[in-house]
Amino acid sequence: MNELKRILLAEDDERDIELTMAALEEFNLANEVVVVKDGEEALDYLYYRGEFANRLQGNPAVILLDIKMPKVTGLEVLKQIKSDDNLKIIPTVILTSSREEKDLVEGYSLGVNAYVVKPVDFEEFIRAVKELGLFWAVINEPPLISIKKNKL
């Protein structure tokens, strides 16, 4: 699938990663998923730092952020992304267990593109992740600049 774009998944919980991956696999979206374990790694990836210093150029097609992560939280990563002219155009989704309204409000006020509460029910969860993956990675056309860089 040529249209398949890289997905950056920032999630510290191994099990959630595995479940998310399982869900993405159902639609063959798993191959291009880059998994980072905390907010710092997510930023390292985005800014070509640390172990990602030599990664392929280009921004991910979509970023899936857990909120509660070690070191740097998902909201802090979101804040950084949305304040960087180069990064703020990347569709960013918060994927979290938290139903707290304040998280929701903060997420949206920082410019998040979607806020998805991870359902407890696995089927719902798969459905949500699938829809996310499809919507952002397949259906939704990323802005041109993002495509260009991806092709580099």
Binding site: K118, V120, E123
Partner: protein, 613 residues
Amino acid sequence: MIENGQYRILFESNPYPMWIYDLESLKFLEVNDAAVEKYGYSKNEFYELTLKDIRPEKDVKLLLDNVKNETSKYQWSSGWRHKKKDGSVIDVEIISHNILHNGIKGRIVTVNDVTEKKRTEENFKLVIESSPNAIVLTNQQGIITLVNRKTETLFGYSRNELIGQKLNILLPERFKNTHIKHENNFFKDPKPRKISERKELYGLHKNGSEIPVEIGLNPIKNEEGISVLASIIDITERKLAQEELIKAEKRYRTTLDHMMEGFQIISNDCRYLYINNTAAEQGRKAKEDLISHRMIDVYPGIEKTEMFSELCKCMKNKIPFTMENEFIYPNGEKNWFLLNMEPVPEGVLILSKDITHEKKSEEELKLYREHLEELVKHRTAQLDDANKELESFSYSVSHDLRAPLRHITGFVQLLQQNISSSLDDKNKKYFSYITESTKKMGLLIDDLLSFSRMARTEMNENKVNLNNIIHEAIHDLNDELQERKIVWKIDEMPVVYGDASMLKQAYVNLISNAVKYTKKKDEAIIEISVKPDKHEYIFSVKDNGAGFDMKYADKLFGVFQRLHSESEFEGTGIGLANVKRIINRHDGKVWAEGEVNKGAAFYFTLKKNGKQS
């Protein structure tokens, strides 16, 4: 007989009127020039007249009687009245002698006109009589010779009872002895004097009572020697007034001495003129160490205080002044006083009130207030911390508790997918149990979170139209209403004051309960009503469903309390607890009535005029 020569000259040029008359015919035989001048008749006219002609008509008989009885060679008599040619009458004294004039028995008369003297005497009597003071004239022997009307009324005697009596009659027994001495002293040095100043004097009334008097004494010299004119003033009234004044003065002094406030008068040269007990106590000095001493001698350094300069200002400008003053005692101790300075003629009057206690209380209060503010700040911070903790706790619950649950369901389902072909029905059932249980747990977590959120979220109070709220609540429950036959009986609802989203949540819970517990009925009847009370509305949601046993009524509103089994009616047991919390936060009450299989009714109240009333 008047010879020409020296005697005639003596007769003719005598300044007093003189004449000789015939004892027989009472005819004038000789008159002198002074008589001519006094009476207005010429000598020739006189010789035509008799003595009767120079008398007022009335006096003639008296004259004749006197002449008839006149046997003495020499007579001095007074009280006569003579009529002059012009008809006017004069009072006269006469001196007369028998004389043989040209062989005729006659009398030679010298006349003294005492009209003036008599008028003076009468005036004197009149003055004495009308004096407002009692006036008593006594002679050198202490015999009363004259009294006036006031004397009669003052002492209760008539004047006849007094005249001729010893003055003693008017003296109380105890004065009688000393009086003799005083009398003698007076006559040794007769001059006007007042004898009330040295001691108290009393007169004795006829009825025995004593009269306080003041007496002025005047020596009067007359023919009989020296008399004493005593002018007696009844000072009963004055004495009473004086006593009253003394009493009042004593009363004021006692009041001043014992009043709770300090009272002192500072003289214009800054000495203590008067100081009451309290002021002395306030100053921690004995009165005698203060009175007439200078302030700067009693309290050295006082002249440098603000109080002292205000005192001087008050003295100079005569303007009252009030101040709070911290007085520093010589030993360094301090007390606060409220001072009222009032200018008076002799200096400044200072009223002082010890306000040390009040000041201390005030300061303590200030300290407490500050402390309280700190305490409130501290507590608020604590509360904030607690709230934050609770929030992060809820957050953890929300986030962390759900994650393992999600993992359980996720992996169970993945596992089920992977091995489903090899699973028998029994094991498939077990898998479904696990899935259901985790779902249930997810619901419980969500409900618990919403319940705790209900307690923490700030109320957003406004006017709320309950008609709309109920409409929305029923709309939200649409899914549960599918394939149900429900008869709705909904009253017209009032507008109340409260948090719209919370009230909606309450109605959602109550209505969904009613819907749930009537699910076994062919036709459910749900009544949503309101009944206005005095200050509040009573709202109710009634159904004809499963109902409950009233003995468990108080358990209904507890968290996770359920009166029905999960298999009978699903639910987490949080809905009514939420309703109670919402209504409580609106200062209302909730209660329920029910009967098994006959339905349930849930009631709650809301204030008519909002929470504030």
